[in-house]
Symmetry: C2
Subunit: 500 residues, 2 copies
């Protein structure tokens, strides 16, 4: 397997270079002085170009062909077959776009994001529409280059959730939509309001930092192999073996932002820290999909981090750290506050339940626009009517409506579904983990999160890309993805806190 | 000038890559999680190799030849002539060492540093001697490759203080030694002891950070184009245009370390921030020498930062920041405390005056060893007898004697003199700045440091490598380097605080 070995060596070098780009990116968002922006963009562009050029050479194409020949008799989930299969897919995809289109897309993203930022600020959809139109044209060209079997949208999904189709998504999402709209309607009608004031008291940033680090370490984040820093937009970056970093941001008058943000990023980080180091730089050392990645963040943020048992362990620690801030707060009040469900306009501020309707709405809009069933000019109207139908909300302006997200301006069509996929995967995995591991709640209440993490490592993290998301779900839970587990989870919470 | 243009484009790309290495290095020393060390060393090695390979190609050699032809009629201090001349020197030097020697040296440095760390810990010079011997052999081979006119040591000096010779150094250093030994002897005999207890009170790290930033900003460090962070060994790194970073470290029971460390690094940083951005990546945008660089750090740390006028401005601010910590401290006591002169064993902890004797001693030892006049086995004895002669101190063990510095184990022979050169240059420049700018003390007392910084920008920073250190001294001060200015400065301080 000489060609295979050569191929892997080349991929590891490319990944090493890419990981240098990750350091530049992390530093850019956590440390870069403002006047260093231009030089940093030159540094990052140099690295990105080198990675792209090294990967798309004819020589890599030849090595891939020879390696495919060398490994064709091996089982599909062997290291070698996995690496060759996945790299070939990536290579074919990255060589399908003509350079002119790649350049036009990069330019349209920069211009589009700027136009979007301006339009959102001045609440002016008309001003943004032409840019969205340009982006849409380019994405359609991209789709033609990639090709597709059933629906154009599938070609874009492949970047974020490989192997998933619009039809499959629609099937699961439509199963979820009805019951979820109905459940949220009942919660709203209950008239019960969680004691949110508790989370809006004074939480000094330094104490929040301490508490976030306690929680991240408790769930298993290895601070010897990572960091927690501050950035405007929280994120997680798996730089390379032994170096996985995440960020959060502190609002001294709101507990939830930094804390659940940290648990969320910890979920991503635990996935990155659980990928096998020896396979760094190859598909066997890389995450399956954005949806599976998101399932890890959502599991720790919501299924673990908002559970009664988690707070049995953590609330006494919170009382120690925050002292008088929590005076007079009962365990039950706290738990309800962190499990508040309430329709709201902004996706990124939405709770565990309503969040999914924000995503479903976006999925419906972007598939309709791409297939030509909806015109761009009708976007605001369609958006607002769906917000009314799904969440019972009147949208006050487009800035708090269809202009709120950067994604479309940045060409990220097909990305939104992965957020709800994460919730769905997480809920279905969690049911199975309970079956396999026994009384998880008793463990959480004692601060024992290692059994769950070990289960995730064994069943998900350790495999890299040996299995697709679909295969993983089937292997782990014995059935295909459905909305059942998530609805069961959300219904139980609704009953507990809102009595509906 | 086609070849010149090509050469410059190539150099700018190499510098861009090198600056990526600088980001990796900065992150390594300020942020890297421990388990990320191995991956980081792979990243840094990749960048270092690329920089070396791209610079030492035959193509660069050809471009240099052609560019020399194209620019030969231009004045020596023109941008083009400067760049070609300096690059040619660098190229010739970097292509003179055979790969085998370069590799042997890198290996010897890693092994040597580890051996040194162990030997210092166990105070075992015998254990270190063989490694020092190996390093010495390699340095002698290096010297043979580079060649020299008068003394082998000159070939090594070229890396740190280009154009300087051992003979010139010896001449200036010997002029300094006698009067300085005598002055320090008088200070010690005076029996007067500065009120050091003032600096050893409780200085909370957070308050020190605030105060250090106030001082750095006051002297002109642009925080929009840089940062101040924490690291074990303080340093300054000019990453690239708009991005100059420095570090310090906080001892809550000692004011001097972080504060004067920050002023010191600010001096380096002001030089880096003052280099012309448009010449980034070429000699016209780079510092002259380590000695000139050090003159900037020493000027702000000592000549400005320990002056009475500086503290007229800063002490009221210190009283505000540190509150009760400074209760009962008079202006005069504070000023004496930060101007304490006292012989001590460790160079890096030495004061402004005695520091130079630590350096002279090392210069004498390393030149003697390289010329064969001294054997390695005699190093401890020679060291200790000089410490007695120069500073009146008995050396308790080699860990606090000839094993205290990492430099020799890392092959940095020829580096030490640049520290005292910095003090000498700084003092001589400062005399001239006073002549050119008028009452600097009145300005400092009002917090006006911009005139001095502007003077340094105009006379030093802005030139890049257009002039050698020697030329700069002559141009700026109208005479060659001598010990006069430094001795005058130190004598005045001795008179003021010790009455001698």
């Amino acid at each position: 397997m000489k060609s295979y070995a050569k191929l892997i060596a080349e991929m590891k070098e490319i990944a090493l270079i890419g990981s240098i780009g990750a350091v530049l990116g992390y530093d850019e968002r956590t440390a870069l002085p403002p006047k260093g922006t231009e030089h940093r963009s030159n540094q990052s562009a140099f690295i990105a170009k080198m990675v792209h050029e090294k990967f798309t050479t004819k020589a890599v194409g030849e090595l891939l062909k020879e390696a495919a020949e060398e490994t064709k008799a091996l089982p599909a989930d062997s290291t070698e077959a996995t690496n060759v299969r996945q790299l070939k897919k990536r290579y074919d995809r990255s060589t399908k776009l003509p350079t002119a289109l790649v350049e036009a897309l990069s330019k349209a993203i920069v211009i589009g994001e700027a136009a979007w930022a301006g339009a959102r600020k001045s609440d002016d959809f008309e001003a943004f529409a032409p840019y969205l139109n340009t982006m849409l044209d380019l994405k359609k060209q991209e789709i033609e280059c990639y090709g597709y079997t059933t629906e154009p949208y599938d070609a874009l999904l492949e970047d974020y959730e490989p192997g998933m189709t619009a039809a499959e998504l629609r099937n699961v999402f439509e199963g979820l939509r009805g019951p979820l709209v109905e459940l949220i309607g009942r919660i709203t009608s209950s008239g019960k309001v969680a004691p949110l004031e508790i989370l809006e008291r004074n939480y000094p940033a330094e104490l929040q930092t301490n508490f976030c680090k306690i929680a991240a370490a408790a769930v298993g984040f290895d601070f010897e192999a990572g960091r927690l820093d501050i950035s405007v937009h929280p994120f997680c970056s798996g730089v390379g073996p032994g170096d996985t970093r995440m960020t959060t941001r502190y609002d001294v008058n709101y507990f939830g932002d930094a804390f659940f943000g940290t648990l969320h990023e910890s979920g991503h980080a635990l996935y990155d820290q659980g990928l096998p180091d020896e396979h760094f730089g190859t598909p066997c050392g890389e995450a399956v999909s954005l949806g599976i990645h998101e399932s890890q963040s959502r599991m720790w943020e919501n299924l673990v981090g908002r559970s009664e048992s988690f707070w049995k362990f953590m609330l006494p620690k919170a009382r120690e750290v925050f002292g008088s801030t929590l005076t007079g707060v009962s365990d039950a009040q706290w738990l309800w506050a962190v499990n508040d469900v309430r329709p709201s306009h902004i996706r990124v501020e939405a709770d565990e339940a309503t969040y999914n309707l924000h995503v479903l709405l976006r999925f419906e809009m972007e598939t309709a626009i791409l297939s030509g069933q909806m015109a761009i000019k009708d976007l605001p109207g369609e958006w607002n009517s769906r917000m009314a139908k799904y969440l019972g909300l009147k949208v006050p302006d487009n800035a708090r409506g269809c202009l709120q997200d950067v994604h479309w301006s940045a060409g990220l069509m097909g990305y939104f579904p992965t957020y709800t996929l994460g919730n769905l995967y997480a809920a279905q995995f969690f049911v199975q983990a309970r079956k396999d591991l026994g009384d998880l709640d008793a463990m959480f209440a004692r601060g024992e999160f290692a059994p769950l993490l070990g289960w995730l490592r064994k069943n998900i993290h350790g495999h890299g890309q040996r299995f697709t998301a679909k295969e993983l779900v089937q292997r782990i839970t014995g059935k295909p993805l459905s909305h059942d587990a998530l609805m069961t989870h959300l219904s139980a919470k609704a009953k507990q806190f809102y009595g509906v």
